[in-house]
Amino acid sequence: MTFKARLGGALLAAALSTTAFQGAFAADDTIKIGVLHSLSGTMAISETTLKDAMLMLVEEQNKKGGVLGKKLEAVVVDPASDWPLFAEKARQLISQDKVAAVFGCWTSSSRKSVLPVFEELNSILFYPVQYEGEESSRNIFYTGAAPNQQAIPAVDYLAATEGVERWVLAGTDYVYPQTTNKILKAYLMSKGVKEEDIMINYTPFGHSDWQTIVSDIKKFGSAGKKTAVVSTINGDANVPFYKELGNQGVKAEDIPVVAFSVGEEELAGLDTAPLVGHLAAWNYFQSVDAPVNAEFIKSWHAYTKNDKRVTNDPMEAAYIGFNAWVKAVEAAGTVETDKVLDSIIGVSVPNLSGGTSTVMPNHHITKPVLIGEIQADGQFDIVQETPAVVGDEWSDYLPDSKDLISDWRKPMECGNFNVATGKCGGKGS
């Protein structure tokens, strides 16, 4: 059963309960945190799940007694997939609802939209989605994967295990795929792949007619060298893409596709039998065999009252971010932004793949990279797991960012320190 009527009811109840508190004076016995995920519009498809996950985490934390002896209270708002509205809602959460921290955003655009707000009002955002890197803000923690925590290990795997020599970099035409593909191209060429063995292809958002592109991929793959597709195709466009792959008979054994935006949630809309063996690279899969994961899945099913609901990587990122924040607040003894910012660096919390993730001075976290093959049941079989990797905010493969590092500890406190010039502030001049 996939009907989610009950869920809808639960959402409504949650929404109503948050309103009940709104407008009232900030009660001293609760700590408010903001949840800033689109519940309507095009991004609702991905973000609603994260809102549910956050509400579950808050509920569980409250069962454990809350934080600093106070209950947590989640303030849910709906930025409706509208980027300026993200900034407005962020401002509302921070200055009106006085939340201690905000968990939210999915697309890079929404993060870029709220970044100035968080810096201006000095609050904290936990961003749980894989992204293109090239950013490090004092007020944002990036718990999703940076390109080196996803893309590069994935191509390494394909080159080493499957002997891939020719690469199709297919993506949706926006910043994340463009940057990731730039990094990958530079990386592959540094490994001796020739320019003519790399094909880059971009499609619009929500592209649904993949016939030409899939047949181009087949054409590209008939040059006598082992070929693979590295897909940074965005959410919605994936279902028609995979359907076309399956129907045109592109088997994983011939031309494997490794995707960075396809997880359990996306596969839920697909018959995966023809796709067995295609790959995805994430830092977490639902199929991870770890007790902590089993427990997480159990409570997720209990919370959503639906044992078919899948878990996915951004949920793990939200889980890590939330627990890191809780631990940092407890260490600091307060929810004051500056104190939490100081205490959170170096905090280690268990991740769902059985290890621990540490918040690094560059506001990214350490986590292992998992490569999984799609199974007929819509889950992934993990075929490789690396040791924990530190998220690299400034890619080593882009000429302008290879000299930059970020370290938010005192005394450096700089998000773009240039090791070549020894100055904070990029190139400096």
Binding site: Q92, Q96, S113, P116, K182, P204, D400, G415, G426, S429
Partner: protein, 387 residues
């Protein structure tokens, strides 16, 4: 005559509105800056920015009302003019960042650096200068409107066809601006502004000034629009709306009349966009989305089209509702918005202001308006002017 009387009334309505807006332009920033934060009448910066945003939307709705309410052109692409104004301002603000971007590159905005661009594209030239950028705020939307209108009105594309191709226009622009290769920052758009004419965009004072500017521009545009529609030209305009062929047969160059109005309206929208961007802190291709333009139509319809002050009220009300609902009942927002659309078209076809003004003659006006839209043109201009 009846119509002259109502015109006078309308004018006094408009003057009253202008006074209210101007009062807001002074009082809101004053309350924000001068009163202590715990004072009962203090308006927090967050609320002031929000109100500033509503004013920009109100200006956009006013622009749409000028072409839709008075000229019968239902543009489903006004978001494009708004976005162009916004981009012109955004580009200026990006240039003001200078070498304070994350890469510290003094010549290029950050997004160009990490996409490995070597030099500034030609269309970014000049945006370092505030006056030039402000000129572009008017010029670019105006030019787009001129080119588009020139072709469309000359070919006598009208009614639904015009609406659909304006929608195609904004959709095509949205897809174009999503492309990183365009040099406008792709889907991330332009953001992380530092200062405007030397003042930090985040400072309370700057925000207050921006709010005041939005109110002033709204008042100014309202006066201009009112002057236009109450002039002789305005009567021809209404004639074009109600009986285009008849006006043409009378010897008027309908396409020029439409073109002029369309361009003025686009410039209003551009100004709205330019004021919107520094207050919300981002401009990106989402502003081109066809759905946004349709929403503008709704504000105008809710407030009452063809009334000038209606759209202002409609924009503020709907957006205030949106701000409230998306915070208080996130799940219900779309139901409320959708229900509003239906209710307004069914029960308030003349909008809030139109209904109040129209009073007892509402029923008659509905018939008149509907006949006019069917293009029957068998309505007397006087009856229409009485709206």
């Amino acid at each position: 005559m009846m119509s002259a009387f109502i015109f006078r009334a309308l004018k006094s309505h408009i003057l009253a509105t202008v006074v209210v807006i101007l009062a807001a332009a002074v009082l809101v920033p004053a309350s924000n800056l001068l009163l202590p934060a715990d004072h009962a009448l203090h308006i927090p910066t967050y609320v002031m920015s929000l109100m500033g945003k509503y004013l920009c939307y109100a200006l956009l709705a006013l622009a749409l009302d000028l072409v839709w309410g008075y000229c019968g052109i239902l543009s489903l692409g006004h978001g494009a003019f708004f976005a162009f104004g916004g981009y012109a301002m955004g580009m200026y603000l990006m240039r003001q960042i200078g070498s304070r971007g994350v890469y510290g590159n003094p010549d290029l905005p950050d997004f160009m650096v990490f996409l490995n661009w070597k030099e500034l594209p030609w269309f970014w030239y000049g945006f370092d200068f505030f006056p030039f950028a402000m000129l572009m705020v008017l010029f670019v939307p105006g030019l787009l409107a001129f080119v588009f209108g020139w072709f469309a009105f000359r070919s006598r594309v009208n009614g639904v066809y015009l609406s659909i191709i304006t929608q195609a226009m904004t959709y095509a622009l949205m897809l174009s601006f999503f492309r990183n290769d365009m040099g406008f920052g792709g889907n991330n758009g332009l953001t992380d502004y530092k200062e405007i004419v030397g003042f930090s965009v985040q400072a309370g004072g700057t925000r207050a000034v921006l709010f005041a500017m939005s109110a002033l521009m709204l008042a100014l545009c309202l006066l201009i629009a009112s002057a236009i529609v109450n002039s002789k030209f305005g009567k021809v305009l209404v004639g074009v709306r109600d009986a285009e062929s008849r006006v043409r047969f009378l010897g008027f160059r309908v396409e020029n009349i439409k073109l002029f109005t369309f361009v003025v309206s686009a410039m209003f929208a551009g100004i709205a966009g330019a004021l919107f961007v520094p207050q919300v802190g981002i401009i990106n291709p989402g502003e081109f989305a066809p759905a946004n333009s349709i929403e503008v139509v709704v504000w105008t319809a809710v407030g009452g089209r063809g009334t000038l002050i209606g759209p202002i009220i409609g924009a503020v009300l709907v957006n205030a509702g949106k701000s409230y609902f998306t915070g208080a009942f996130p799940e219900l927002w779309l139901f409320a918005l959708g229900g509003l659309f239906i209710a307004v078209t069914l029960f308030l076809p003349k909008g809030i202001v139109g209904t109040i003004q129209g009073g007892f003659s509402t029923r008659k006006a509905i018939k008149v308006a509907s006949d006019a839209e069917k293009g029957r043109g068998d309505v007397t201009p006087i009856a229409q002017a009485a709206e």
